[in-house]
């Protein structure tokens, strides 16, 4: 998380004796800070935040995923569950809530229970829940729920799609095997986003 990095950076350059290693740490921290500030400024400039960008990605993902028939009835809304950071939930709802994709309504809601997890079409797990990722993903394992995360180890722990932020860009990575295990069919158009591919 950038904020943690920020705090650790401050701690690192907070005081103490001057040495080469310390100088290097300070330079790295300064560069990191500058980078963070630039990212922040860029997002602020075009008016989109990280979660807004990720919300757009999640909305687009609806078009590339095929759920089992029991979850795709006519008029059945597409439920996007958000677990973890409330800010993420708010911003995702703000961007794609009440939209319609392929004549299906988008419903964004906060999820906390396993039943709520399994009722979702897409489950977004924020990085605040990184420590519990294994148990969360284990609970929806085998269910047709498109799990979307933002942690580096998300795909390794059984997640299907990971959205990482690099600068202004959101980079998507897919674990097709996990998708198949969940009974979901991903569009071949996402083949370039597979884990290990250039984007993954």
């Amino acid at each position: 998380m950038p904020y943690d990095f920020f705090i650790r950076g401050l701690a690192a350059c907070g005081g103490g004796s001057f040495s080469v290693s310390l100088l290097r740490a300070r330079i790295a921290w300064t560069v990191a800070m500058l980078s963070f500030c630039l990212q922040f400024l860029a997002c602020a400039q075009d008016g989109t935040s990280e979660y807004q960008a990720k919300a757009i990605h999640i909305a687009k993902l609806v078009r590339y995923v095929e759920w089992p028939k029991e979850k795709t009835g006519h008029g059945v809304p597409i439920v996007i569950g958000v677990f973890g950071n409330d800010l993420a939930s708010e911003q995702i709802r703000e961007v794609i809530g009440n939209q319609k994709i392929n004549n299906r309504e988008i419903v964004v809601k906060n999820c906390a229970t396993v039943q709520e997890f399994k009722g979702c079409h897409i489950l977004f797990v924020s990085r605040s829940e990184e420590s519990r990722l294994g148990s969360i993903l284990g609970k929806v394992k085998g269910d047709p729920v498109l799990t979307v995360g933002e942690c580096d180890s998300f795909l390794e722990k059984g997640g299907i799609i990971n959205l990482r932020t690099t600068g202004r860009d959101v980079k998507m990575a897919i674990n097709e095997k996990n998708a198949r295990n969940s009974g979901l069919r991903l569009s071949p158009k996402l083949v370039d986003f597979r884990e290990g591919a250039v984007g993954g």
């Binding site: 078009r63 590339y64 998507m172 158009k189 370039d192």
Partner: protein, 538 residues
């Protein structure tokens, strides 16, 4: 080129034909093949580009939709494996560039309409603009630029290299084959030609060409040999015919010589007859003159004068009385006066007759002299006035003309000397006059007329024309009247006009005829070149 080939040996012609046929065939075949290849290359190139564009556009949906520059670049990067693509670009819906591959320039925009792809040519490059469509919605655009010109140039270079290589090998093979085959075709022809040359050089028609094969050349050889048989046969016949003709010509020449002599003798006889007639006529006059003189002398009154003189002798002594008183004596003076007058008259008449006699004798001398001059040898060229020759000729036939009561008119208009053999000209003119006389036999007396004129034509040559009012010459006979042996008279030998024409030619002149037709008279003209007055005769 055509003339050079025309005179080239058959072997070279064959080689040229084979090589040119080979080259033309290759040109046509390779041209057609390359055209088809090029057509399919272009078609396949476009199809390939369409397929590539379709595939890339479909593959780019995710990259465009999620605006992944790196994925887009990776997708476009696969184009590096394809030759001929000079650039590509992925654009988002709002026109922003997502990814690019090499340089595509600035000419790519705005061709896509209604989700349909577009393609167009720009300066040898084929450009594609493909919409990136997701769920019937264009979310971006794929641009691809391919250098078709470079590809086609490479292909053309390759084709040219292949063509040159194939052409070189084919020409080499065709050349070797043409050498082999050329011998098969040209060798029999060469043998034939050598035989023909040998025949021409040695004039030996016994030679025959060797038949080598049973093809067209073999058939031609057979025909050639058959032709040689014919030529040999005709050569023998021709030689025999030439010998026969030479013998006939020799006989003809001999006959002509005889005829010439006969003609000359006939001419001489004609001249002699004329001379005898003239001499006879003059002798008649001489005879008459002598008779008159004799009569005058016999009829003279010499007896009376003798008696008167005797009477005067008797009266001698009384002569005065007798003359004065005697009646007879008184008549004597007047008698003597009359006698003197009469004697003077008789003397004058005698003198006149004697003069006539002398003239006639002189005429006889002239006639004899002329005959002697005509009897001289032919071949002497003299410069002479043509009217003199005309007068001599007329004189020679005048007796005959008078006997036949033919009127002759002589007309000399414009005369100039000619260098001729007098006797040949006289022979011609006498011949023409005699023919004119014969042509008027049986005609009315008052219409019988021969006109002899001397004039000069436009070139200055002398024209002696003998025209008659006789039976004329039919048109069909005008062309053959000078031919040897041609005559319309029962007793004619057909040599007179022929020899006259020859004689005219020998003197550098010519003899022509004109007639309006049968019964309308005829006109013969002897053309003689005027004497060159600057030159002197030797």
């Amino acid at each position: 080129m055509k003339a050079m080939l025309k005179n080239a040996p058959i072997r070279s012609k064959l080689r040229f034909i084979i090589l040119s046929t080979c080259i033309v065939s290759l040109l046509v075949a390779c041209g057609t093949l390359f055209a088809v290849q090029f057509y399919f290359f272009r078609k396949n190139f476009i199809q390939d580009m369409v397929s590539t564009s379709e595939m890339l556009a479909a593959q780019s949906i995710g990259a465009v939709d999620f605006e992944r520059r790196d994925v887009g670049e990776e997708i476009l990067g696969t184009l590096s494996a394809k030759s001929g693509i000079t650039g590509a670009r992925l654009s988002l819906k709002d026109g922003r560039e997502l990814s690019a591959f090499r340089d595509v320039g600035n000419s790519l925009a705005g061709h896509v309409a209604g989700l349909k792809p577009a393609q167009w040519w720009d300066d040898g490059s084929l450009l594609f603009e493909y919409p990136v469509i997701r769920d019937q919605e264009q979310i971006g655009t794929l641009y691809i630029k391919s250098d078709y010109g470079a590809q086609s140039r490479r292909l053309v270079s390759l084709y040219i290299a292949i063509f040159c290589m194939v052409l070189g090998i084919s020409v080499l093979v065709a050349w070797v084959i043409s050498i082999r085959l050329g011998r098969v075709i040209s060798a029999p022809i060469q043998k034939l030609a050598e035989t023909a040359r040998a025949i021409a050089a040695k004039d030996d028609y016994h030679l025959r060409a060797e038949k080598v094969a049973n093809d067209e050349v073999g058939a031609f050889t057979e025909s050639f040999n058959f032709m040689l048989d014919q030529v040999e046969h005709r050569d023998k016949a021709l030689r025999h015919e030439i010998a026969e003709r030479q013998r006939a010509e020799s006989e003809l020449q001999h006959t002509q010589t005889k005829l010439l002599q006969a003609s000359h003798q006939a001419g001489m006889a004609e001249v002699a007859t004329g001379v005898l007639h003239n001499v006879g006529n003059v002798l008649n006059s001489v005879n008459v003159s002598a008779a008159i003189i004799s009569e005058k002398i016999n009829g003279a009154r010499l007896e009376k004068m003798q008696r008167t003189a005797a009477m005067l002798v008797d009266k001698n002594g009384d002569l005065a009385e007798f003359i004065s008183n005697d009646p007879k004596g008184r008549l004597i003076p007047s008698y003597l006066v009359n006698l003197g007058t009469h004697l003077i008259s008789e003397r004058n008449e005698a003198i006149s007759e004697l003069e006539s006699l002398l003239r006639n004798i002189e005429h006889i001398k002239e006639i004899v002299s002329m005959q002697q001059s005509h009897a001289r040898v032919f071949g002497l060229i003299e410069r002479i006035q043509p009217e003199t020759l005309v007068d001599d000729a007329i004189r020679m036939v005048s007796v005959s003309l008078r006997r036949h009561q033919i009127n002759l008119v002589r007309d000399v208009q414009n005369s100039t000397p000619v260098d001729v053999d007098r006797h040949k000209v006289l022979q011609i003119l006498v011949n023409l006059l005699r023919n004119a006389k014969h042509a008027m036999e049986g005609g009315q007396d008052e219409a019988r007329r021969i006109a002899v004129s001397v004039d000069r034509d436009a070139t200055g040559a002398v024209e002696i024309t003998v025209s008659d009012t006789g039976c004329g010459i039919p048109t069909e006979n005008l062309t053959k009247i000078f031919s040897h042996g041609f005559t319309t008279r029962k007793d004619g030998h057909g040599f007179g006009l022929h020899s006259s024409a020859l004689a005219a030619q020998q003197m550098g002149g010519r003899l022509t005829v004109h007639s309006e037709g049968a019964g309308r008279g005829a006109s013969f003209t002897l053309h003689l070149p005027a004497a060159n007055t600057d030159a002197t005769l030797t």
